[in-house]
């Protein structure tokens, strides 16, 4: 990271005010807010580091200004480069970078809604978080906003992108859907059968998690992080734990690192089996759906046996895990995993040879490599579109450095590729769990964590079942959280989904949607 810092300081000597190294892989550069576009574009295009997160922070208590952070992933060096600019209260604007870096578009809208900082030059500044029911002039993530106070509802008209032309019509769907899924509103502009445009209005389940964490104890926020997105409970709490453990400077015992791998992979296995079942159901292939559902139920039985919690909650604790969940259960675990592997192998064989199934999934919902790169698509959808990136390899955490595994590689970007990525990852997860159980050393599973110093910050980065998951924690006084920024993989992949459905017929939308399997709760927060 020092080489990167030197290079950037040489290139922009006047515009970089300050460099801070945080731990081994985090570099923070305070930069001139007027030149932010130039520097961001250079980092994104010339250095090839994609924008992975962007957030604001009300730091008026510290230095009377708001701060905006632009986070870039330097995957080759396993580092995170953060550019920080200051915004004064009189100004309250930033220069929009989304014309050069499309991935920034949603972050900038989010910052506008939650902080009232206007991104100048943004082409489509539609309200993102609130659907015309939020009064103007109130910004929930500013420190002077009281989270316990309920804000009155207003009624503004909602606007959607209009596609004009002969025979073009709109299909509004949701927020309450036909299946047992989360709420979101989809507006299709359609000519005949093919979809011309899809606008997804999300944030229906926006609760205000980030605001709620502010001022709460470090311990309580762990439980909140487990409830960001139900089926990603473990990986979200792991990212939070990593960030806090980095700030405290505690070394997690080796056995706990292996136990964390076991749970992280079990969560991935469960999630992928559920997706595959859903995909089969959406192409009306009942046999496949029930096979995968049964396998998923078996995976939940493993979770029950290990910790009694089907969603792997209350497993992580700051400094390790709650107790030794694995000891004495190794044999039964490996037996059950082998049973799932055999069943998965047979089912995948039947599935891939089933022409009706292949007919529906092949060349359906293609996410092109170019769009995937522009929008920073992560996880299985990214890997199915030629982005061979996995946090477990690029930013190895816990015991992944010591374990051998492969990342699946596919390039067509259609539903079929995403199915293949998920099937391959299921096998990989089973192997990883078994290897981790076998390689696990004896020892304690939890290190005591002391109190944290105020106004320290760090990232936690994990590979969730849905992809790269980045959390940023800044501590406050008395062991509290000052700011908790959550960026789940779903936030990156939703815009990618809207592009992938274009040109497909409306009845294929549920199938494409299921193959992405995005979390609404993780996106809306």
């Amino acid at each position: 990271m020092r080489a990167l810092n030197k290079k950037l300081v040489e290139l922009f000597p006047k515009d970089i005010y300050n460099s801070i190294f945080n731990g081994s892989n985090e570099l923070y550069l305070e930069v001139n807010s007027r030149e932010i576009l130039k520097i961001c574009t250079y980092v994104d295009t010339e250095l090839g580091c994609p924008l992975v997160s962007m957030f604001a922070n009300d730091e008026r208590q510290l230095h009377h200004k708001f701060a905006v952070y632009y986070v870039f992933a330097d995957k080759n060096r396993s580092g995170l480069l953060t550019l920080k600019t200051m915004v004064s209260e009189e100004e309250m604007t930033i220069q929009s970078i989304c014309n050069e870096i499309p991935a920034a578009a949603l972050y900038e809208r989010e910052i506008k809604d939650l902080f009232g900082i206007i991104p100048k030059g943004h082409p489509a500044l539609k309200e993102l978080i609130f659907h015309g029911n939020w009064p103007e002039g109130k910004y929930p993530l500013r420190k002077d906003f009281d989270t316990r106070k309920k804000v009155h509802m207003i009624n503004k008209k909602k606007e959607f992108v209009e596609v004009k032309g002969e025979g073009v019509y709109e299909i509004p769907v949701g927020p309450v859907h036909a299946g047992i899924i989360e709420p979101g509103h989809f507006r299709f502009s359609v000519a005949g059968e093919p979809i011309l445009h899809l606008e997804a209005q999300l944030h229906y389940v926006h609760k205000g998690i980030e605001k709620m964490c502010e001022g709460e104890s470090i311990e309580k926020c762990l439980y909140i992080s487990e409830r960001i997105s139900g089926d990603e409970s473990f990986t979200n709490s792991l990212a939070y734990c990593q960030a806090v453990e980095k700030i405290v400077g505690v070394n997690v015992p080796t056995r706990a690192k292996y136990i964390r791998v076991v749970f992280a992979e079990l969560e991935r296995l469960t999630s992928h089996l559920g997706d595959l079942g859903g995909i089969c159901l959406d192409v009306a292939y009942g046999f496949g759906a029930f096979q995968f559902r049964a396998m998923r139920a078996w995976a939940y039985l493993i979770a029950d046996e290990l910790c009694g919690m089907r969603f792997l909650r209350s497993v992580n604790r700051l400094g390790g895990v709650r107790k030794d969940f694995i000891v004495g259960k190794e044999k039964s675990l490996i037996e059950q995993l082998n049973k799932i592997r055999t069943e998965l192998k047979d089912t995948a064989g039947i599935l891939k040879a089933h022409s009706l199934f292949i007919d529906r999934v092949e060349n359906t919902g293609v996410l092109s490599a170019g769009i995937a790169a522009d929008l920073n698509a992560v996880g299985p959808p990214g890997r199915a579109s030629g982005r061979h990136y996995d946090v477990r390899k690029s930013y190895p955490y816990e015991a992944y450095t010591d374990l051998d595994f492969d990342i699946s590689e596919h390039n067509n970007g259609d539903v079929n590729c995403r199915v293949n990525v998920k099937i391959e990852e299921c096998f990989e997860s089973i192997d990883l769990i078994i290897n981790a159980i076998e390689a696990m050393p004896e020892g304690k599973v939890r290190e005591k964590t002391d109190s944290v110093e105020p106004h320290r910050f760090a990232f936690g980065i994990t590979e969730a079942p849905r992809g790269e998951n980045i959390h940023w924690v800044m501590t406050g006084e008395d062991n509290t959280v000052f700011r908790y920024k959550i960026r789940t993989p779903s936030f990156c992949n939703w815009p990618a989904l809207c592009h992938a459905v274009k040109g497909n017929i409306v009845p294929d939308f549920p199938l494409i949607n299921k193959s992405f399997n995005l979390s609404y709760a993780g996106n809306d927060l």
Binding site: K207, I209, M212, S233, A297, D304, E305
Partner: protein, 266 residues
């Protein structure tokens, strides 16, 4: 050949269904159920009450009494972990859905909070009779997520898997509220979903039953102080049954549904 392989798979296993409410095929000993506090062992030190993430533990210094509001509890096991005298303990009991929210609580809600005991019980009984009369033994359910973390939704989905197979009771999930007899509502009725929840409720024909699934729907759970969240769905729609849990396991939801239909006495 393909079809032969499929048939072989289908007949490979004997029946997978676990047959709940019969518990002989369930490993109940592995379940994490509700926590209980043994009053005789408890020293009233207040450690659990002050650290409880969802502030569900009620410690009354005046009457020297302690207890748990199960509608607010998120079943995180922290009370068991921090208790010095081992008074707080997790049990395996997962079947404790109630028709009245106050029966889940240590500190009862005030009368005017929309939870009035008599009318709800009566309403519920009447609806049950109506449903039985009009629908026989089948029930159609529409699920509404009003702002959950999606944990409860996955567990509701889990009721359809081969192990639980809720359809053996004649209970089906339908695509539209207009076809439904029961609304299964998860989440805290967040700001952006309030309108949609009310519209769904109004679109469901009478007689209808509303069931709150999970801590968020029962009381707001850990999120009840968020600016966009709400303290439970009963501030918006009348609720006939509360299923606590974070999330409640599929069997716990089945227990609740069967209880509201009076197929389980309790």
């Amino acid at each position: 050949m393909q079809i032969l392989k499929m048939v072989r798979k289908i007949i490979q296993y004997p029946r997978l269904t676990q047959n709940y409410p019969d518990k002989s095929r369930l490993r109940v000993d592995r379940f994490v159920g509700k926590p209980v506090i043994d009053i005789s062992k408890c020293t009233r030190c207040g450690e659990c009450a002050s650290r409880c993430p969802s502030r569900a533990i009620v410690l009354n210094r005046e009457s020297n009494d302690i207890g748990i509001n199960y509608d607010e509890c998120i079943y995180c096991m922290l009370c068991e972990e921090v208790c010095q005298t081992r008074a707080a303990k997790m049990t395996n009991d997962f079947e404790f859905a109630e028709k009245n929210r106050n029966r889940l609580r240590k500190s009862p809600l005030p009368e005017d909070s929309g939870v009035s005991e008599v009318s709800h019980e009566e309403l519920c009984n009447k609806l049950e009779r109506n449903i039985k009369k009009t629908l026989g033994r089948s029930l159609y359910i529409r699920e509404v997520d009003s702002g959950s973390c999606n944990g409860c939704d996955y567990e509701i989905n889990g009721m359809n898997n081969p192990l639980n197979d809720i359809e053996r009771f004649g209970i089906h999930f339908v695509a539209s509220p207009r076809h439904a007899d029961m609304l299964l509502v998860t989440g805290t009725a967040v700001r952006n979903m309030q309108n949609a929840l009310l519209k769904t409720f109004n679109a469901t024909p009478d007689p209808k039953v509303v069931v709150a699934v999970g801590a968020c729907a029962c009381s707001g759970g850990i999120f009840r102080d968020c600016y966009a969240a709400n303290s439970g769905i009963d501030s918006l729609v009348p609720v006939d049954l509360y299923i606590p849990g974070c999330p409640p396991r599929p069997q716990a939801i089945m227990y609740g549904i069967l209880k509201v239909l009076d197929r389980i006495k309790g």
